[in-house]
């Protein structure tokens, strides 16, 4: 009986120690789990800071590209754009998508410098995606930066995405044109139509850039949605019918096309929209064809904004998604 009592005491002591140790172990696991959670939160914050850094780098790059340069740089910048690079939700040809990865180095136009990637990121698994709607908002670029932290960082492999939109000076806020009743011109009479009266503050170079962007992205009269801005440098007679009542176009024959004589528009070609001849010779401006419908080049700008420079779209910053 007494021997049994000794064994019982021993077992009790062992059990108490075991329970105490178990509680200690559970406490340690709980602390370690909390530590891990806190560390992962820190890694996520570091990844987000890196994605913001890459986003800011891309914004500075866009600012540098579009500031103080000929707007023709727009075509050079988007030269490698492809619909394959678009997120699945933006598969329509009106979306222009350009993805920059580390392997893109050396593929840029000489006027565009390579991106200065932040040191903390794994460049093989990080990218910057530029997206814009070439039909409805070619002046607004959405930039998405996705990064993975590299192996030199404590949180290697942590991923984050940040995005923001920018206005670029490829168009100007719409100012209604001053429309005066234009009398039918006499055969010997010239009635010049000023560019500014038709297009407001948007310049010929800007409309040409928009036309190039739409062409570059595969928009045409047959695509869905269809192309809306046509800048023509060819002096040949125009034979193609363009535009519909719901989707009017703007067709501009440039001063190159009109160098000797502005092109004729074939009688079978029905143009639904506006035709403008950029010619000093007003007699060649066929006012009769002019139908005012600015939808093709009327883009959404905040009131009072200075559209001549690159700037951020207020409230467009997001830290996830496309």
């Amino acid at each position: 009986m007494n021997q049994h009592s000794g064994m019982a005491n021993l077992w009790s002591a062992i059990c108490l120690i075991f329970i105490t140790s178990l509680l200690g172990w559970i406490t340690l696991r709980s602390v370690m789990s909390e530590t891990q959670r806190s560390q992962q939160q820190l890694f996520a914050a570091q990844a987000l800071a890196s994605s913001e850094s890459l986003l800011e780098t891309a914004i500075a790059q866009i600012d540098s590209i579009y500031s103080g340069q000929d707007i023709a740089i727009d075509a050079a910048f988007w030269r490698n754009a492809s619909s394959n690079q678009c997120p699945s939700a933006l598969a329509s040809p009106q979306w222009q998508c350009l993805k920059w990865t580390a392997s893109e180095v050396g593929m840029f136009d000489h006027r565009i410098s390579a991106l200065a990637w932040p040191e903390s990121i794994d460049v093989t698994n990080s990218f910057v995606l530029f997206v814009r709607d070439v039909k409805l908002a070619p002046h607004k670029i959405k930039i998405t930066a996705q990064v993975n932290l590299n192996s030199e960082q404590p949180g290697a492999g942590s991923r984050a995405t940040a995005q923001q939109s920018l206005y670029i000076p490829i168009s100007a806020p719409w100012t209604p044109p001053v429309l005066e009743p234009v009398p039918r011109p006499e055969p010997a009479e010239c009635t010049p139509i000023e560019w500014r009266k038709q297009f407001g503050n948007i310049t010929p170079a800007q409309l040409k850039a928009i036309s190039t962007a739409q062409l570059q992205n595969g928009l045409s009269s047959l695509s869905q949605p269809s192309r809306t801005v046509y800048w023509i440098d060819s002096p040949l007679t125009w034979t193609q019918s363009l535009g519909t009542h719901s989707a009017p176009v703007v067709l501009i024959f440039s001063d190159i096309a009109c160098a000797h004589q502005c092109p004729q528009i074939a009688s079978q070609a029905a143009i639904n929209g506006m035709v403008y001849f950029q010619s000093a010779n007003a007699c060649q401006n066929p006012v009769a064809l002019l139908t005012l419908n600015p939808e093709a080049y009327h883009f959404d700008w905040p009131i009072g904004i200075d559209a001549s420079r690159v700037q951020r779209v207020s409230g467009s910053w997001k830290n996830a998604g496309f």
Binding site: G6, W25, S38, L42, T57, S113, L166, R312
Partner: protein
């Protein structure tokens, strides 16, 4: 009768072996528990310090991006070093410097880099201190420019 009584007492106590063995098990268990507690406390303290350092770095990084008078006053020079104390008596030292990032043909004023380093004493490191590094970039592109 006396003999019988003594015999009964000696039988009801612990043997020396039992006591030694039980004490050893108890000591071992307590040592294990103590070490677990110490490890928990050390991990807790280490993570707490990391959280504080991370907070100090992120606070400064956020301030760098906000154009308020208070934040602007903190970045009057391109670098700074400041010792900060916590209530636990641990000294955190925060250093930062800003640099311009320029690639070929770009204006160096367009993109700035802020490098922040927060150091604090640590017993589990050979050099006795731990460092957290934080970097953030900012483009000077404005949000809205009115006419």
């Amino acid at each position: 009768m006396l003999f019988n009584h003594l015999k009964t007492d000696s039988q009801s106590g612990f043997t020396v072996l039992e006591v030694v063995f039980a004490s050893a098990v108890l000591a071992l268990g307590l040592l294990g528990s103590f070490q677990l507690s110490m490890a928990s406390m050390a991990a807790n303290q280490s993570q707490r310090n990391l959280d504080i350092a991370s907070g100090l770095a992120q606070d400064l990084a956020e301030c760098w991006q906000v154009p308020s008078a208070f934040c602007a006053s903190q970045f009057q020079s391109s670098h700074n070093s400041k010792a900060l104390f916590t209530e636990a008596g641990i000294q955190f030292e925060r250093n930062w410097n800003t640099t311009a990032i320029s690639t070929q043909g770009t204006d160096p004023r367009l993109l700035q880099n802020l490098h922040i380093s927060v150091k604090w004493p640590s017993q589990d490191k050979l050099n006795g201190s731990t460092e957290l590094r934080w970097q953030i970039r900012r483009a000077s592109t404005p949000h809205w420019v009115g006419l």
